[in-house]
């Protein structure tokens, strides 16, 4: 796809994604915070779930997306794949940060401790560092093509590592602390909680897709600043 067609065609999408995402997030969050009854064991603190679960979910999806884009870039040298990686990495850093922070805040009232070393928390923490590595490596390399390649390699190696990390951490932590703590009582989640949660997860996806797309548009504009169509566009509007 040519950058120009992408740039012109994507504006409508950004608006739509933003609109649906923000509406959905407002609906799910208000529903979750005000209209769902308190949970039997956790009281009101469980409501953090409506932020925490979508953020944690999305972090992994964004990383998988970056790794797929990495493969696409290395195999076909698709420039848009690189643009996606560049736009998605900071967003991923923020969502993992959000997942970690909300997890910490949730952990204190629920388990009496800010941080529990278990497979999921460690995976998200490592994901945070992988996103950070993506950004740091890209900034360190001056030539865009080389940066794109380096970041792709890193993304792929990281993606291969995630299941290994999960497996090893799970094994290691069950060894050290017999499964007295589990993060979510999945069986305990009733439909009352599930519907607003699903709405929030879906809207979060849509909203973040809009953010990444908007970021890609900015990058396309910056990378093609010397071309005539960009100059025409910036001049006319």
């Amino acid at each position: 796809m040519s950058p120009e067609i992408f740039f012109r065609g994507s504006l409508m999408w950004v608006y739509c994604l933003y609109l649906i995402g923000i509406l959905g997030l407002s609906l799910g969050t208000i529903w979750g915070l005000f209209f769902v009854p308190p949970e039997k064991f956790q009281g009101d603190s469980f409501r953090i779930m409506f932020i925490h679960v979508p953020a944690a979910h999305l972090s992994q999806i964004i990383y998988i997306g970056i790794a797929v884009a990495g493969v696409v870039y290395i195999v076909w040298r698709t420039k848009m794949a690189d643009v996606f990686m560049a736009a998605a990495a900071p967003v991923g850093l923020i969502t993992t940060g959000l997942a970690l922070l909300s997890g910490i805040v949730w952990g204190k009232p629920t388990w009496g401790t800010w941080w529990v070393w278990d497979a999921r928390t460690i995976s998200v923490l490592i994901l945070f560092f992988l996103f950070f590595g993506q950004i740091a490596l890209r900034q360190a390399v001056s030539r865009p093509e080389r940066a794109a390649f380096a970041v792709s390699v890193l993304a792929i190696v990281g993606a291969i590592n995630i299941p290994i990390i999960k497996y090893s951490v799970e094994w290691f932590t069950t060894l050290h602390q017999p499964a007295s703590i589990t993060l979510t009582r999945e069986s305990a989640i009733s439909m009352v909680f599930l519907i607003p949660l699903l709405i929030n997860i879906a809207s979060f996806y849509i909203y973040i897709a809009g953010v990444v797309l908007a970021g890609m548009r900015t990058l396309v504009l910056r990378r093609h600043k010397h071309t005539s169509w960009v100059q025409a566009w910036t001049g006319s509007s």
Binding site: S142, R143, E145, K225
Partner: protein
């Protein structure tokens, strides 16, 4: 578009386009070098001589276009001469020969060392040599590696007049023997080039 192979061509560059930090360095650059040819790449600092040589060596990737190397083997010499500072001249030469899968012949090594006036310092570490001696050692290693195509980036740097003459002789005898060389310079040395690529002062 496909670059066609010409008879005897050792390297073909086809429609090379390359830009650095938004600045176009080459656009639509075509070149073919056949065996026996000596090509001089000429231009002031910043005109892209080094970049062009690195593209031809396969160390840089052009943004578009392609480089096809038909030569059996390519030798590349830049300001980073490619000698380990903690090895002796001899050890370096030995390794270069092994790397290029050339044949190691003691008599030939000795005669080349003598030709480059390195006999006395063959056993000393590269770290302890003067800049000119280092350059001579690098040239000796290049000669002994039996590469078909030579890519030389500013080979005359830190050589004295005598060394420069030696360099010119070496390059032209290499080309006469069926090899080819692409040499980048900003000063004119007494090379009898068949052709010249002038990168001008863009």
């Amino acid at each position: 578009m496909r670059a066609e192979k010409l008879p005897n061509s050792l390297i073909t560059a086809h429609e090379i386009y390359y830009e650095t930090s938004g600045r176009e360095l080459f656009s639509g650059l075509n070149a073919t070098v056949r065996s026996g040819e000596l090509v001089e790449v000429y231009g002031p600092n910043g005109s892209g001589k080094t970049t062009l040589l690195r593209i031809l060596a396969g160390l840089h990737r052009p943004d578009s276009g392609q480089v096809i190397r038909h030569a059996n083997s390519t030798g590349f010499l830049s300001h980073r001469v490619g000698l380990a500072r903690l090895l002796t001249v001899r050890e370096n030469i030995r390794w270069s020969i092994a790397l290029s899968r050339a044949h190691f012949a003691e008599a030939r090594v000795l005669s080349v060392l003598k030709q480059f006036e390195l006999t006395s310092c063959a056993q000393s570490l590269v770290r302890d040599l003067s800049a000119g001696q280092v350059k001579r050692s690098a040239l000796a290693a290049l000669v002994l590696s039996d590469h078909q195509l030579w890519l030389l980036d500013e080979p005359s740097g830190s050589l004295d007049a005598e060394g420069e003459e030696l360099l010119c002789q070496t390059v032209s005898s290499h080309c006469q023997a069926g090899g080819a060389a692409i040499v980048a310079t900003h000063t004119s040395i007494a090379l009898t080039a068949n052709r010249r690529i002038d990168l001008g002062s863009t």
